[in-house]
């Protein structure tokens, strides 16, 4: 699609209507980072949207091909920077698969704990910013208040709050700090109490309903066709969750439900994510209760050099299915090919389809509802 309206020499009719081409971003307050949209408007109605990405491209995949296998963990932190733990998890599990390393059970439990805490934090950031885009500013601060508690827990475990670098090939770098499990449970109780607070502000709010019901509806077939993943896919009624379908870490040992939407609109995506927070808390409680004793690190050679081969492994990140394709030539100390399948990138493709026919005000709601992080889209 061309960004410039076509100029013709044909005489214009007396009462003419023009399309308005408007540039949204990359420094627009609600494009969640540096997303740029070129919208073609008829009045306030969106006719077409063109996504321009790449403003945060750092060449992470190429960088990874020039770092050794341990250093890559901290590069994965910087992709989806609001959910670093799940990025770490996806990477280390892929390498372990390539290497056929058996990870100790306690380490798998800790990984599950970390990634579910991270899921709660990521969903809280999503809920806050999404609500703020629609004008409910208070929800944002409420959500970040609880997210702060998660960050404190993560900090206590690995010393960092955002870019965690929290996992290693073969296991976990640290055992849990004393009393950490107790604090996690305390957080679960707080979060359980606070969830109704957000719901009180939004779920039954008439304005919220009018702004999200039947906005950006996408059917199950279409969602699969576009390649949606994660909560947006499930909100359209597709029962697909990597945690259940191809269990990794310790997920096969826990009981939890996969919330499924029916309408596939913005409101359903909101409900699905809220329910996912509840299910995450459920998993965290089970993981803390059943935490096994034992080592947290498997026997791994000092210099990691996986055998030649290639593998793909996917996990359920907060934003959807996060996959890593890694090829090793068996000789060098870094991957031969490193490729990420980021959920935000795939979900973002649905945006032009979602915004068509809606108003400008809905565009920001729809950017919010697919929950993108530009660090991951551009990599």
């Amino acid at each position: 699609m061309s960004h410039v309206p076509v100029q013709t020499d044909a005489p214009r009719p007396m009462f003419d209507t023009d399309e308005l081409v408007i540039n949204m971003g990359p420094q627009h307050p609600s494009t969640h980072g540096v997303l740029r949209l070129v919208l073609r408007l008829d009045g306030e109605k969106v006719i077409d949207a063109d996504i321009v990405i790449g403003y945060l491209h750092r060449g992470i995949e190429k960088l990874c091909e020039n770092r050794d296998w341990t250093q890559i963990v901290l590069l994965t932190d910087r992709m989806d920077y609001v959910a670093a733990a799940t990025n770490n998890l996806g990477y280390v599990e892929t390498v372990e698969k390539l290497y056929s390393i058996e990870v100790p059970r306690r380490a798998r439990y800790i990984r599950t704990l970390l990634s579910e805490l991270q899921r709660v934090a990521s969903h809280l950031v999503w809920l806050g910013t999404h609500a703020m885009d629609i004008g409910a500013v208070t929800v944002f601060l409420f959500c970040l208040r609880e997210r702060e508690l998660v960050l404190d827990l993560l900090e206590e475990y690995c010393g960092a709050r955002l870019t965690l670098n929290s996992m290693r090939v073969g296991g976990q770098p640290f055992d849990l700090p004393p009393d950490w499990a107790k604090k996690v449970l305390a957080f679960c109780d707080i979060q359980d109490r606070k969830l109704p607070e957000y719901e009180h502000l939004l779920t039954q709010n008439r304005i919220w309903l009018e702004r999200t019901r039947n906005i950006g509806v996408i059917s199950a077939a279409e969602a699969i066709g576009i390649g949606l993943c994660g909560p947006p896919l499930r909100a359209s009624g597709v029962n697909r969750d990597v945690r259940k379908d191809e269990p990794y870490a310790a997920y096969s040992e826990f009981e939890f439900d996969i919330p499924i939407g029916t309408r596939g609109d913005t409101y359903d995506r909101y409900l699905v994510r809220l329910e996912e927070i509840r299910q995450s808390l459920r998993i965290i409680r089970q993981a803390v209760a059943g935490l096994p004793e034992g080592p947290v690190m498997a026997k791994v050679p000092r210099l990691i050099k996986p055998p030649a081969g290639e593998t793909y492994h996917a996990i359920e990140a907060p934003k959807g299915e996060l996959g890593y394709f890694i090829a090793s030539d068996g000789k060098s100390v870094s991957p031969y090919r490193f490729r990420v399948r980021p959920p935000s990138f795939c979900n973002l493709q649905a945006l032009p389809r979602l915004v068509k026919g809606h108003l400008v005000a809905d565009v920001v709601a729809l950017i919010g509802t697919i929950d993108i992080v530009l660090g991951e889209v551009d990599r």
Partner: protein, 339 residues
């Protein structure tokens, strides 16, 4: 001579200064109230509890660079903030802050002017401000402000109809257009018009939120959608003018609501004997308290609700508020004739 010229001049200066100071502190109040709702502290650094923050803000806006975009229409661009601010301030001329004050042996009426078409004056002056918003958005020669000013004009005009309709019912009850007359009518009838006209009051308040561009109707300046709305291209004092006008309009809407529906300067419960001590509180204090309550509700609503969408806003205005307001006028008319 002294009563005809000096007193009004002094009063104008006092009202003008008081309103400007009030506007500055409403901005602080807004930030504080929002902060408290959102479990924050708000401004705390400048002065005790941030009480000097408005002065710091004003100073900052004074020294900011005043930018006029190259392709803007310079005259209109300069005039627009003035057109917005001046009507918001001169509306205070007819608002009765108190019945009368006794000072050094003189009896001074507690308002700048008691015009016999006071209400009409407020309505007409308030609608001039809309031109400033439209012109400001249009003259910036930028797409976002243009969209915002289109929104603003549609929104303000449609809500003004509903609001004016509610004023008609008040006029029917009071039998006068004078603001002082309306308060005196409430004194004579023995109850405030909010209780006689709850529907009118409700429509007036919702319409007032929309007319002052406040949440949940703050579409023309929806920062998450249209960046800054109609004042995107403005900076420095011109931006401050838009800002001041918005808050001055909030105070106008609140004080008109107080005057029309809540008895202006009158003390509540004049006929309850054990509450008679309420009458010792001066009228201007009552006026201030009531207006403050309205302002607080404005801020409270903003901190709580998400924003309406443009088409939903128009639907609410045209399909609900305006028919309801007209119906209310008809019913009031019938009741007045029958009773």
């Amino acid at each position: 001579m002294i009563e005809a010229v000096i007193f009004p001049l002094i009063k104008i200066v006092i009202v003008f200064a008081a309103v400007l100071v009030a506007v500055m502190y409403v901005v602080l109040l807004e930030r504080k109230v929002q902060a408290w709702v959102q479990v924050r502290l708000g401004p705390m650094r400048v002065g005790p509890h941030g009480l000097l923050q408005p002065i710091a803000d004003a100073l900052k806006l004074f020294v900011k660079e005043d930018i006029t975009p190259v392709r803007a229409d310079k005259w209109v661009f300069t005039a627009a903030p003035v057109i917005v601010l001046v009507p918001a301030l001169i509306a205070f001329a007819v608002i009765p802050f108190a019945n009368q004050l006794s000072l050094f042996g003189y009896t001074i009426p507690g308002r700048v002017a008691d015009v016999n078409v006071g209400l009409l004056y407020i309505v007409s002056v308030a609608s001039i401000g809309i031109y400033g918003i439209i012109l400001g958005g249009w003259s910036s020669n930028s797409k976002y402000p243009l969209l915002a000013s289109l929104r603003a004009s549609a929104q303000l005009i449609s809500y003004e109809i509903a609001v004016t309709m509610t004023l008609v019912t008040v006029i029917m009850l009071a039998g006068t257009l004078s603001m002082v007359g309306i308060v005196n009518a409430q004194l004579a009838k023995g109850w405030w018009f909010a209780f006689a006209q709850p529907v009118a009051f409700f429509i007036y308040f919702v319409g007032g939120l929309a007319e002052t561009n406040r949440a949940p109707f703050d579409l023309p300046e929806a920062e998450q959608e249209l960046v800054g709305g109609f004042h995107t291209e403005y900076s420095g004092m011109r931006f401050a003018f838009f800002f001041l006008a918005e808050y001055a309009n909030m105070i106008v809407v609140s004080s008109v609501a107080t005057t029309l529906f809540f008895g202006g300067w009158l003390a509540p419960f004049p006929n309850v004997s054990w509450l008679s001590w309420l009458g010792y509180i001066p009228g201007w204090a009552w006026f201030g308290i009531k207006t403050f309550v309205f302002l607080y509700v404005f801020l409270w609503v903003r901190a709580t609700l998400p924003r309406y969408r443009y088409d939903q806003l128009m639907r609410l205005g045209w399909k609900w508020l305006i028919p309801l307001a007209i119906l209310n006028v008809v019913v009031t008319g019938f009741l007045k004739v029958l009773l």
